[in-house]
């Protein structure tokens, strides 16, 4: 690569948006936080992360700004975190809504399929969560990880370069969090080779 990849963070108002930016910066990406109302043709990034945030997927999706546009028109890999993943699932014809048992703080996830995101990571590890909603149905996605109270902890679209996690890899207390984001950045790097 002649230049670092540009991975920008679309801000959905999460407490940890700034942390995503920080970890990407530590992974030597060029990164910045952009409002989720940024028009897609003005982004100019190689890949996008859709941050988590307080908006509830079932009745506050207008607060997610242009994120649906990004899924429709953005050229490059997209990682959806928390509400970002939920929006991805809904956009692809699936469903998301309030969790029966919401998860806050510590949870254990079990990796079912390594795929790109979990390359080289253990089958079970501890993560940090903070969600009231979850994906109920994800059409066209492979399920990558589950926890006791949430059946879609991570997913990857079968055809498009869409990745999603319900937990928060950007949070320092999440085990292997930085490695998961690095695995995503590796995908971005590979996509630049074509």
């Amino acid at each position: 690569m002649s230049r670092p990849v540009r991975v920008y963070v679309a801000d959905n108002g999460g407490q940890w948006t700034h942390r995503i930016w920080r970890v990407l910066r530590e992974l030597s990406c060029e990164s910045k936080i952009i409002p989720n109302t940024t028009p897609v043709d003005q982004i100019g990034a190689d890949a996008l992360v859709l941050s988590g945030g307080a908006p509830r997927i079932a009745w506050e999706s207008p607060k997610l700004g242009n994120c649906t546009d990004y899924l429709e028109y953005f050229q490059g890999p997209i990682l959806g975190i928390c509400v970002g993943l939920q929006l991805m699932a809904v956009y692809c014809g699936g469903k998301a809504g309030p969790s029966k048992v919401p998860e806050y703080g510590l949870a254990k996830i079990r990796v079912q399929e390594e795929d790109d995101l979990f390359k080289g990571l253990p089958k079970e590890f501890l993560v940090w969560e903070s969600h009231n909603d979850e994906v109920k149905e994800a059409r066209g996605f492979a399920m990558l990880a589950v926890s006791d109270n949430c059946s879609v902890q991570a997913a990857k679209h079968l055809k498009k370069p869409y990745y999603g996690v319900q937990f928060h890899p950007e949070v320092n207390n999440t085990e292997h969090g930085e490695e998961i984001l690095k695995n995503f950045v590796d995908v971005v790097n590979e996509s630049q080779c074509f």
């Binding site: 407490q15 940090w128 903070s130 207390n173």
Partner: protein, 317 residues
């Protein structure tokens, strides 16, 4: 990786361009404001006046100790005793957000008075990323109004300068170390601007301050002793909180009825997420015995908080 050297170089340059004439900085004795002060001091030297406000909500012996430490760093420090003003404004106030806003506003009024005297147009704060993230705005929900962001009044007389705005605590520590702060300062545990006022659930009255100040001192002393003896590692933050409920006890065959103290200790990197500290039980027991015995007239019970962040926050209000 975060490059502290580059950050210092660029920030000092920017501050030199930005600040003309005199500036005032609100300084607490913590790592954020001390680091910000050294940066500005490098940029404008003698033109920086540091203001240490005695809010009445500082920890045991803190004002004198902090003043000494900061003066040793070559900073121009003035202490403003505003205890009575803070106690007066907070009388009868129990809502946590109201407390934080009253404190935020009063801080600014005190700084404005000094700025007027000094003829300074710039006011520096050691604001770091979690302060403005948690204060909310736009899409982001307000978790708590940090005194230096969400607690600011609408009308302010000077221009605010925040050189550490995009950094987290761990990065500030690296910058502080680079700038030559002593180890006990750059490694000092975080302490909230509103101080003991937000460690008293309920009214932050002088009498409640007396209780929580002593309990916090005991927690800090016992933990530091245990760390020095290699019985545990130093938590990221450790303190006591006065809960607004009384419980029954028995003291020498006599019924007691007193306050409850919660002991809180967490592990974190940047304060944005945290796990409760697994302090060994014998150390928790020492803390409990010492508090309930030496503070018998005020405290009947000690509990240990086992909540992570999320769902809890580190401080209680």
């Amino acid at each position: 990786m975060f490059n502290a050297e580059k950050f210092v170089e660029e920030t000092v340059e920017e501050l030199r361009d930005k600040i003309s004439g005199k500036a005032v900085i609100g300084i607490s004795g913590g790592v954020d404001s001390a680091t910000a002060a050294i940066l500005v001091n490098r940029a404008i030297g003698e033109n920086l006046q540091c203001v240490l406000v005695d809010t009445g909500y500082m920890r045991k012996n803190e004002i004198e100790n902090n003043k000494k430490t900061l003066k040793k760093l070559g900073l121009n420090v003035v202490v403003v005793d505003a205890k009575e003003r803070f106690y007066e404004k907070l009388r009868g106030v129990v809502d946590p957000e109201q407390k934080r806003k009253i404190i935020g506003e009063l801080f600014i009024r005190v700084f404005e008075e000094v700025a007027r005297k000094e003829n300074a147009r710039f006011f520096v704060q050691g604001t770091i990323a979690p302060d403005w993230i948690e204060s909310g705005g736009g899409l982001r929900d307000r978790i708590k109004s940090h005194h230096n962001v969400g607690g600011l009044p609408e009308k302010i007389e000077f221009e605010i300068v925040e050189p550490l705005r995009d950094l987290y605590k761990d990065e500030v520590r690296v910058v502080g170390k680079k700038l030559g702060l002593p180890q006990e300062l750059y490694n000092r545990q975080p302490y909230p601007g509103p101080g003991l006022a937000v460690r008293i659930i309920g009214e932050a009255s002088p009498d409640n301050v007396r209780i929580i100040r002593e309990a916090c001192a005991i927690v800090e002393e016992e933990v530091e002793k245990a760390v020095a003896n290699n019985e545990m590692t130093k938590p990221w933050q450790f303190f006591a909180v006065l809960l607004p409920c009384k419980t029954v006890g028995v003291h020498g065959d006599v019924r007691a009825y007193g306050n409850t103290i919660s002991v809180r200790a967490v592990e974190s990197l940047d304060g944005m997420s945290a796990a409760y500290s697994k302090i060994p039980h014998p150390i928790l027991e020492k803390i409990s015995v010492r508090i309930t015995n030496t503070m018998k007239d005020d405290v009947a019970r000690v509990v240990y908080d086992v909540t992570n962040k999320p769902p809890g926050t580190i401080e209680y209000e």
